[in-house]
Each structure stands twice: as C-alpha cells, then as structure tokens.
C-alpha cells in the first residue's frame, strides 16, 4: 500500500466509525441528512466509474437512479408493503437493463456526442414518466408502506425505523466502495483506465473496447439504481425529478468538486455539495429579497466559478497546497 492509499484507508476507517456512532448522539434530522449524503456518495462514485476512470462523460446518470426508484414504487401494492428481498434485486435488474439498452446506443459515440446522447435518452425516460399516467405522471407516486425485510418469521431490520434505514445505507455505501476498489484494481479496471487514456491503442492491443465500455456502463447503472432504491425507501416518494437533468448535473458536479478519477473525491464532493446546498437554502432575507428562496441562483454561480477555477476539485486543491507547503519547507531548509 502506498502512503497516500494508507492515509486514505485510515481516514475512511475513522469516518465510517464516526458514521456508525452518529445515530447514538445526533437528532433525526442529521441522521437522515447523512443518509442522504451517503446515498448521493454512492451515486457519485458510480458516475465516477464512467467519468473519471473510463472517460465516459455521462450527463444522464440520474436516469438509472430514477428507474430503480420507480421499479420499487411500481411493485409496491397500494397500502401494502413490498418484499425487500425481491424488490431490491428487481430494482437493480431494472436499472441494469435500462443501462444495457441505453448503453448499447450511446457507447458507440464519443466526446460531445456521448454527453448529448446520454442526456437525450435520460430526458426521454423523464418525459415518459412525466407525461404518461404510467406511474403518477408529473406528481410522482408515494410508497405508502416501506418494504418489509422478513425471512420467514425473522426480521433482520425494520425499514420503518429511520436508524435502520440509515444503517442499511451505510452498509450499502461501504460495500459499493470496497466493490469499486476491487473492480478498479482488477485487470478489468485496468482496461477501463486504458480506454480513458487511449481507446485506439487499447483496440489495437486486441481489447473489444465496445464491450468493456458497455459492461462498465451497466455496472455504473446498477450502482446508480442502488442509490435510487435506497432514496425511495428513505423518502417514500418517487417523482420524475429523480431522473431529471438537474440531478444528473448535480452528481457530475459532486464528482468534479471532490476530484474525479478517485473514489474519495466523489464522497467528499457529495458531502460538500449537500452542505453547500443546505447553507444556501438557509440564507436569510435581506431587505425585501429572500436570499434562501433563490438558492438555485447561488448554486448556479457556485457551479460556474468552481468549474472555471477548481478543475481538479478539492482533492487537487489539497494536493497542490500540500506540494507548495513541502516546497516552501524544502526551500526553508536550504
């Protein structure tokens, strides 16, 4: 393990320990807020697999998040509970299938075309759910009763309790992180990084890059679906906005903000993004203008400034400051 990797490992271990302890002292609002951050972190990590590692700039990643949430909502009978152990794999399968079909078309395009086509397909799904009465249309649907996780008579966890939801999300988060670590260290992961660096060369080395990219797109879709399923459980409501481009753009921004091409970056980015959002929403009324009501404006300005002046994200900024510190120290020694 390199030094940086060791630091990352211990920082994450400490963070997870703190997160495990959180429900023992924090209020409900903060527990749920952190669950939301973790869900966004899963979504951002799954996007980073495409964006930072494979070089596929997907602007439609929210589609898979939304599709899995809708899958849960649609198998939940009215006023009754769905079964967690069947609805969970089903939702992931639906997200994976959507990613397979969309990926089959989009993965053959490159660069700017890829961005536009992923966005267009995601918007197509958005309009299908928004305009038709398939699942509540514009207003979305409520999941009246959360899924029940019974095996025979034994119930390992109860999703009506917010702490149980929180721990489920935390477990999912840790599993996704470890899974991606292993995946990226595997030969498959190396091929993905190779595709980002130079796809033509990978092709001439004999790799069927189309298939690698498609599989990668499906994996990212399934993980995005996982985040969507968890979100549907936490909030008990599913609406078309969940697959809209505002979310796709926000997740992309989380990845960039933290630092793409790393796994810690998206996690950090998701946390900082959610905190900034919370901050802007809570801005006071100055004179006659309610600053908090127009938080989208501040968010938009923040995005413009961050993408102009923070190209490598917070991780890059931290590394640059660290390097400068070391250089100053070295010069001081002379």
């Amino acid at each position: 393990m390199s030094r940086a990797r060791r630091i990352e490992f211990f920082v994450l271990l400490a963070a997870v320990a703190a997160l495990v302890a959180l429900p023992f002292f924090a209020e409900k609002f903060y527990v749920q807020f952190f669950a939301k951050i973790l869900i966004m972190a899963i979504l951002a990590m799954s996007l980073d697999l495409l964006l930072g590692y494979t070089g596929l700039v997907s602007f439609g990643h929210a589609a898979f998040y939304g599709v899995a949430a809708y899958a849960l909502a649609m198998v939940t009978p009215q006023y009754q509970a769905a079964n967690f152990w069947t609805s969970f794999p089903l939702a992931l399968a639906v997200a994976g299938l959507a990613a397979l079909v969309i990926g089959f078309f989009v993965v053959r395009t490159h660069g700017i075309f890829f961005i536009m086509v992923t966005l267009a397909f995601a918007q197509m799904l958005f309009f299908v759910f928004h305009d038709t009465k398939l699942a509540g249309g514009n207003d979305g649907i409520y999941i009246d009763v959360r899924p029940v996780a019974k095996i025979g008579d034994w119930q390992p966890f109860d999703l009506d309790k917010f702490t149980h939801v929180y721990y489920l999300v935390l477990v999912a988060f840790v599993i996704v992180y470890l899974f991606l670590r292993v995946l990226l260290a595997s030969p498959f992961g190396k091929v993905l990084v190779g595709i980002k660096a130079n796809e033509h060369r990978m092709k001439s080395l004999g790799y069927a890059t189309f298939r690698y990219k498609l599989v990668c797109f499906v994996i990212a879709g399934v993980l995005g679906g996982l985040a969507g399923y968890l979100s549907a459980i936490q909030f008990g409501v599913v609406n078309p906005e969940m697959m809209g481009w505002h979310l796709s753009g926000a997740v992309m921004m989380m990845v960039i903000l933290g630092g793409m091409g790393t796994l810690v970056g998206p996690i950090l980015g998701a946390a900082v993004w959610m905190l900034i959002e919370l901050f802007f929403q809570g801005l006071p009324t100055v004179g006659e203008i309610n600053l908090g009501k127009h938080w989208h404006l501040w968010m938009g300005l923040f995005i413009v400034l961050a993408s102009l002046f923070l190209p490598k994200g917070l991780i890059g900024l931290g590394a640059a400051l660290l390097r400068r510190g070391q250089r100053n120290k070295a010069e001081g020694d002379v």
Binding site: L51, V57, F59, F105, V106, R108, T109, H110, G111, I112, F113, I115, M116, V117, L119, A120, F121, Q123, M124, F127, V128, D131, T132, W245, G249, M252, M253, I256, H294, H296, L297, M299, G300, L301, F302, I303, V304, L305, A306, S307, L308, P311
Partner: protein, 298 residues
Amino acid sequence: MDFHFFLIQLMNGVQYGLLLFLLSAGLTLVFGIMGIINIAHGSFYMIGAYLAWSLTGKLGSFWLALPAGIVLTVALGMLLEWLVIKRLYHRDLLYQVLATYGLILVCEELRSVLWGDDVRGFNIPEALNQSIQLSETLSYPVYRLWISGVCLAVAVLLYWVIQHTRLGMKIRAGASNREMVQSLGIDIQIVYRIVFAAGVTLAALAGMIAAPVSSVFPGMGNHVLIICFVVVVIGGLGSVKGALVASVMIGLVDTFGKVLEFSVGGVRLLPELSSMTVYVLMAVILLWRPEGLFGKKL
C-alpha cells in the same frame, strides 16, 4: 386523413422544423467554430421569449419589442463570452458542460426573480392575426407562415455572411486554425465574441417569434434544448446543412407522430408514445451513422 388536413400538418411540421433550425444553428455554429458546447442554449430561447413578452408590454408593440430584444440579447451574449466563455476555450468538454449548466440555473432563477413563475400568454400581433381559408372547415394561421419566412430569411442571411463576407472569411479561418489566424494579425477574440453573441441571438430570436404561439412559461428552454441536441446528433455536429435537414425531419416526425394512429397487435403506440418518436429516430440514426448524417467521421 383528407388532403387539406394533411397539408396543414405538413406545414405545421415544416414550420416547427424551421424554428428548430433557427435554434440548433446557433448551437452547432458555436461548437463548429469555437469548439464550445453551450448547454445554456435553451435558456437563451427562454430569455428571448420572456423579453418579447415583457418588452411588448412596456413598448406597446411587438414590432418594437423585437429589435429591442435583439439588441439586448446581443449585449448579453457578448457579456457572457467576456465573463465566462472565453475562459473555457482550452478546457476539456466536461468543464464547458458544467460551467454552462451553471449558467442555466442562474438564468432560470433570474427569470424567476425578474418575471415570476407564472405562465404568460400574449397575443399574436394585429397585422398577422389572420388565417388563410383552405377549405370550408380548415384554415391556416398567417403568423405561422411568417415564422417559417423569418427562419428561412435567417438561414439565407447566415449562409451569405459566412460564405460571402470578410467577417465570414475570418470566422471560417478561425474555425480551422486559430493560431494561424492570430499570427496574421486578426483579433480572433473579437471574432469569437461575435460568433457567440450571434449564437445567443439566434436562440433568443427563436424564442421571441415563437412566444405568441407557444406562450411563455418557466423551464420552456429545457425541452427545446434536448430537441436541439437530437437535431445536432442526427445532422452532425458543426454542420449547418445537417442542422437544416435534421430539423425539418424532426419537425415532420414529431408533428405526424401526434396525429397519426398506429397500433401493433392491438396496442396503440401512436399517438400515445408520440413524445418518444424523435428519440427513436435518433437511436436509428446512431446505429446507422454514429457521427450523424452530415458529420465528419470521428
């Protein structure tokens, strides 16, 4: 379907297609010449529509609002190029997408602050508020014909400026080799600023002339932006000719998808799924020619 009904739908489809061309021409020009992908393009459409609505109210006439709106949007385009876009020329596509995505949020929220969140309708200008009688029961509004006329005029003007003027020469030269043009003593920065402002103005103009028929409402730019992307994907990025062909294709497919009935095995697909027809068209084109009809091979 009788002949007159078919004719009306055909003209509606062509008119919608030409309006889409006006919009996507700006998007494809800015990319083709400057290498900038501007996803805030739909927001300028919205701003154009709101400007037409509010200036018509203030100045009392649509015909005064139109030139005033154009002057304002040219200024807006130049300002944005100076503030934001010029910092993105040498940057990865990803940052161009994100920065302009940020602009969408800013535009949308400023619109909410300035003009509120209500749907606004406004009247078709008096002079064009007539219809041509086609048969006893069917007629076609003159205003829609006027929209098509404006779009065609702009297309011809664009062609003339780019192919036959000195500015057009500089623009074409700048598109193929930026450094060479600079070393010949031409201020490419000014040329780019003009091109970007032109792109913004084309989108806003589309919004202004569409406003009386489509009404003016929040988020109106978003749907239009996605359709513009579909146009550009089908026509090929950077190709104005491709944008024209693809726009009219989409206009026709979309219009006829809404009025035709089509069933497979007893399941009605059209018009129920008409909002998907253009995406299906895009998917087919992608399989056949991933670079678009008139795009350069990637």
